[in-house]
Amino acid sequence: MTNAAATNKIMTAGEAVEKFVFDGAVVGLGGQNVGRCAMAIVHEIIRRRTANLTVVGCNLSINMDMLAGAGLVKRCEGGTGNLEYFGTTFCFRRAIEQGIMEMEDYSHLGVLSRLMAGEMGLPFMPTKSMLGSDMLTQQAASTGKKYELVENPWNPGEKVLLLPALRPDVAIIHAQKCDPMGNVVIEGFLCHDVELVRAARHTIVSCEEIVPTEKIRMDGERTNIPYLYVDAVVEQPFGAHPTAAYRYYDYDIDHVKLYQRYAREGGKAYEDYLKTYIFGTKDFDDYLDRAGGFKMMNSLIKHMKAML
């Protein structure tokens, strides 16, 4: 039996980022839109100003937008930069329009196909998405060759698209529960997090609560990601704020709107946001105090409970 104590991966967000997120890294972000984004880890990357990142994922939302707004992203490979009802991701949009950041566009299934190749140790994955689209008119800066169009060997004449494996240097996800070894339990939808983690070389998991390994062993079928893929476990209640963690708390509409106001304006206003909520805070708990503290978090818990 694996000795849980010998494989304790609990560390602070600072230690995890220091160890696994380096200048120029390819960073895969879990969660989506206003759901389960690993914001505490993203804050820590910004606080340390780890730069020249390539950010990858299906939907990239406020997590990517903050990194882009802080000037730390040189390229995105993904499906969307979007916050839906709350508008586009303004820092992302501005950085691309100004030529500061490159975007390599795929469909969401395109990104997933690349991650599926990565997670299975395969060089590429076929898909029937993206055919006939202009996503096939640009070549990629990352791999030099974005895709290959082949004929189905078993059905001559049928076109099939091959996309290269995507293996991020580090996957960053937020989960509800994790044990000290790194066995992860995600509640609610999974987004692309499981494929992302299995494709990545290293993984940082932040979680709402650390649970004992004995508890994980009682319900092994509920483990979404076994410890073998996980390198760092960071306990951070409300670590997805202002996005939601299913069964724990709702997303914070007011803070998402507030963020979007600053992001839309950009420039000095956006710098003020970063200063107030990230650079001027010593850690994520400090940020949570500034973002409404106990009162706000309690109301987000109440909103979620009313839905369950």
């Binding site: 989506q32 916050l83 898909t127 689209s133 202009d134 076109k159």
Partner: protein, 258 residues
């Protein structure tokens, strides 16, 4: 008329969703429309959402595909891969339902850029699951505003494929074999256009009350044909309107009543 054109657009779109079918819809008006259909004539319509929920009993009012309200009482809370690959690409989605930034005469959608790709004049969000939906769903519904700039002859950039370069085989030539010849229907405040199966090009099939062929043509950047049998969109029943206002969007977050 007893409702706004925006409301009627949603009500008309909901009539295209048949009971017992499967629909893949994004948030916003596609989701509102889907919920209306489920609560009126299509209680067994299976709604799936790209983040992973399958057949949820949605609580009012989700603002995102990752909204907890969309996960409520789902029969399965799965993953993007399950929904996009195992349902959509596998050919199990009867209807794909999206909004649209720019839609051309062949039903292609641009949600990526205006101008040069590397240094665009305007950068939009990108494909998301949109390309996957248009690539694989057996029937496509699009709900959007009717403005000339949104309906160019040719999209600046094809994010999601309709009939690509046109013709009945426009999609097959591109390799889109999951759904080779889907009807593509776009519903707006002015009327309804649907692709002609022979040409893959939009033609006007219905007009909204108070609208006209001339009005549609003046607000469309290409020149759609007109169907032989042109219909007027039916006004809403009291039931449709009550469910829409009281149960689907009770806070009026997406639709104004006047």
């Amino acid at each position: 008329m007893n409702c706004s054109l925006e409301e009627l657009t949603v009500i008309e779109a909901s009539r295209y969703l048949e009971d017992g079918k499967t629909v893949f819809a994004g948030t916003g008006l596609p989701l509102m429309t889907t919920l209306l259909a489920i609560k009126t004539h299509a209680p067994n319509l299976c709604f799936v959402c790209e983040t992973g929920p399958i057949a949820p009993i949605v609580l009012p009012t989700p603002l995102s595909v990752s909204d907890p309200r969309l996960q409520h009482r789902a029969v399965r809370l799965g993953s993007l891969k399950e929904v996009l690959a195992n349902l959509l690409q596998r050919g199990m989605m009867d209807v794909g339902f999206v909004g649209g930034a720019e839609i051309d005469q062949y039903g292609n959608i641009n949600s990526t850029v205006i101008g040069d790709y590397r240094r665009p004049k305007v950068r939009f969000p990108g494909s998301g699951g949109g390309n996957d939906i248009l690539s694989h769903a057996k029937r496509i519904l699009i709900i959007t505003k009717h403005e000339k700039k949104r309906f160019p002859e040719r999209c600046h950039y094809i994010t999601s494929p309709g009939y690509v370069g046109g013709g009945a085989d426009g999609r097959v030539k591109a390799g889109l074999t999951t759904s080779p010849r889907p009807p593509i229907t776009v519903i707006t405040r002015l009327g309804v256009m649907e692709t002609d199966p022979g040409t893959g090009r939009f033609r006007i099939v219905k007009v909204m009350p108070g609208s006209s062929i001339e009005r549609i043509l003046s607000e469309t950047g290409f020149r759609p044909d007109v169907a032989d049998r042109l219909e007027e969109v039916k006004e809403p029943s009291g039931f449709e309107l009550r469910v829409l206002r009281e149960e689907v969007d009770p806070q009026g977050l997406y639709m104004k009543k006047v």
